[in-house]
Assembly symmetry: C2
Homo-oligomer: 492 residues x 2
Amino acid sequence: MFINAIPDASAMEKKEKTLGITVKKENLAEWYPEIVVKAEMADYSPVKGCMIVRPNAYAIWQKIQDYFNPVIKKHGVKNAYFPLFVPESFFHKEAKHAEGFSPEVAWVGNKDEGEERLAVRPTSETIIADSFAKWVRSWRDLPLKINQWANVVRWETNQTRLFLRTREFLWQEGHCVYENEADCEKDVLLILDEYAKLAEDLLAIPSIKGVKTDKEKFAGAKRTYTFESLMPDGRALQMGTSHNLGQGFMEAFGVKFLGKDEKEHVPWYNSWGITTRLIGAAIMTHGDDKGMVMPPRVAPLQAVIVPILFEDSKQKVLDTVRNIKHDLEAHHYDVHLDDREEYSPGWKFNEWELKGVPLRIELGPKDLEKHQCVIVRRDTGKKQFINLANLKDAIKTSLEEMHNDMLAKARKFLESNLAEARTMDDLAARIKQKKMVLVPFCGEAGCEDYIKERTEGAVSRCIPFGKKAEKGAKCVQCGKDATAMAYFAKAY
Amino acid sequence: MFINAIPDASAMEKKEKTLGITVKKENLAEWYPEIVVKAEMADYSPVKGCMIVRPNAYAIWQKIQDYFNPVIKKHGVKNAYFPLFVPESFFHKEAKHAEGFSPEVAWVGNKDEGEERLAVRPTSETIIADSFAKWVRSWRDLPLKINQWANVVRWETNQTRLFLRTREFLWQEGHCVYENEADCEKDVLLILDEYAKLAEDLLAIPSIKGVKTDKEKFAGAKRTYTFESLMPDGRALQMGTSHNLGQGFMEAFGVKFLGKDEKEHVPWYNSWGITTRLIGAAIMTHGDDKGMVMPPRVAPLQAVIVPILFEDSKQKVLDTVRNIKHDLEAHHYDVHLDDREEYSPGWKFNEWELKGVPLRIELGPKDLEKHQCVIVRRDTGKKQFINLANLKDAIKTSLEEMHNDMLAKARKFLESNLAEARTMDDLAARIKQKKMVLVPFCGEAGCEDYIKERTEGAVSRCIPFGKKAEKGAKCVQCGKDATAMAYFAKAY
């Protein structure tokens, strides 16, 4: 008998039922919000459309920061912080930018008499370009590479979803200016590569890199590059973007520099961002019917220890697991010891599976006799008996294997759900099959609109790198010459 | 001759003049804004009263985060993120809080038809208490310790100063709830200790810890603890605060838990914060007539290398300094090599002194012959010839010594500017002498008001720990029995 006599077993069972996930993942639209809340990743805010990022998810964001800060530092980018408020007039300086963002802006009435309204930043190109006009004088000041980690607000009128589309979210936004187009474009692509690498290396999420069509590019950009992942319901998710902004913002804000040729030039500008949406991508990609599955490299806890406690051996078992915890922590693992006596081991297993802790370490009196423990992988449920002397190495290996297996599984899913089509009927059929579909495309916005209507929602995701339209290929919609191969899918 | 023939020497000299600080530090009110901007710590924003935190200062904030995150993690505090927007009705739930913050709140008109206005958070007690009401059910959920790094907005009508008082600033705010008062109070004091330690260990700023008078405590708090430093002009600076909020917010938001006694209880709540104001404190405490002096442990660069270049030895010198840079970077120092040829070494010395880089490494052809370099400390100007084989050790030692010397110097300043007074005349005289003055005090707000008037601005800073009023001591103002000894000073 477990020592913990549960005072009110029926109440406990009831709680256990509501604690766990009640929906299967195949029903993603209901499963997703339930897992986000029950795995304590996020909670709804009293302000509609905003979210509370709970510690279990914020830890992922912090690890993304810890990973990405040295990456951009290596490329000469320095962190800074620009004001939350942007004067209304700034938006009107770059016409397309204003048009793109105005509907989503939340405004603060300026309390200073006679002053203009202030936007709560939806993005910071305008206020940063204004500073660049003060800071950039000569070619010696270039390149100037700035990044900020910040909150942004976009007053979405579409349905909001925790992490995926909220009225406030967290992001990093890089803003860099250069002497010439080549240097600017080089960094735009370099950052896109770093992003896709981050998604794979940290979150175990593969993606497809490419360029957005004109219709889908950032408001004010010359070109927008994107990396796109595919969620289990066949909808694509834009994971982040890197924009070549050309010279438009610089001209609008009067940013000029004296070149080596002693003439005046306008610098080239790029900006790039990833957001807390990546956490939503990780939840959807890896979660299962039992709850969250944390990618090991961003998991707030790498392991949870659940001792199997009987009255006569309790003290010995607890002493051992405390030593294990202490030892693993000394090796920089974050480990939780769940030594609560009022819950059964089975209850605890469910709770930690729900929260997605990568490894569970079980240890009972029989294990103790054999100087072993059991480690159980969250993603596969695979159990291994490990001699305590080898535990540290086994933990390390298991976490690495788990990361690699999760990435491989996600890559297999992505690759097996890519398709190609040459006709409109075929495209529509493939979209119905929840595929991301590569088609010859003419580049016209009108064709995108028609495709969206005809497929009940598929939109262009990107023109992927390295896939050119064959000679003579015709746009899947209008039949004119295709200028590119483009992926279409329904999207978040 | 230096190889760099300066094309337009007079223009260069003019630039050099305007680049450097034009005001002596003894004129602190003019010196401070000039150094903040010229050392590229911050810049003015197009929105009045807001600031742009430039990389040279943001690096300090990042190092504060990197230091403090493990500290609070050790105490069981987890990072999270709560919404920027707080519904107006939340403020009215705790009467004193509403009264204290309402004048400073910036409001966003909610775009959703018929919804209430939203405050841009001036602080997050109300929106976090609302979540605690959802998350806290039983004693098992306690203590619950949350922290967030965030921006906050307080629409100051007083004069704003970069870092010290701006309408938007960055901070961390801890919010923790407990089963009982003792646990709550214990952490309030523990965090205050950690804060004062951070200020000394990272920023080399000593402070005085104590409790605020009732008049000066946080709106809605039971008790506010503070740590106060003294600036060179004799004005005190509140460095951060830790509040025991009692049970008021918890009652207002209906936070309750089922205790071990199976009865319902109201938890105890504390909150605590430090802000980007600490960067302003570091600038004022350590800067000098030449510019900023970066505390070594938060400096974005620990050293700058200025090679002395002559045509015939240029390549050898550059090869050597590049190796030095590479070697120091491999040992995790951030080092900049200033190999610009269009500026003279003297110009570069001025520029890096202005920016406050702790150590300058000079190396010319004669040094190269002797296999040595010169290192120069920013705070003292002291030069040392160092054999290149010993450079790493010398850098390490110099940075440590510099930190210790800066802290000792600041402590000496603080201690030699503390005074005591027993009469109103003496207090006023001491305040005129720019002292922070300890006086017997009755605790009445009315006496504080009178003291402020009589001393042309001195306000109570804190009732310091460990200094009780002597038996029979009388309030310096009203002559009634003193309940405490309190520090008064003019303040930022």
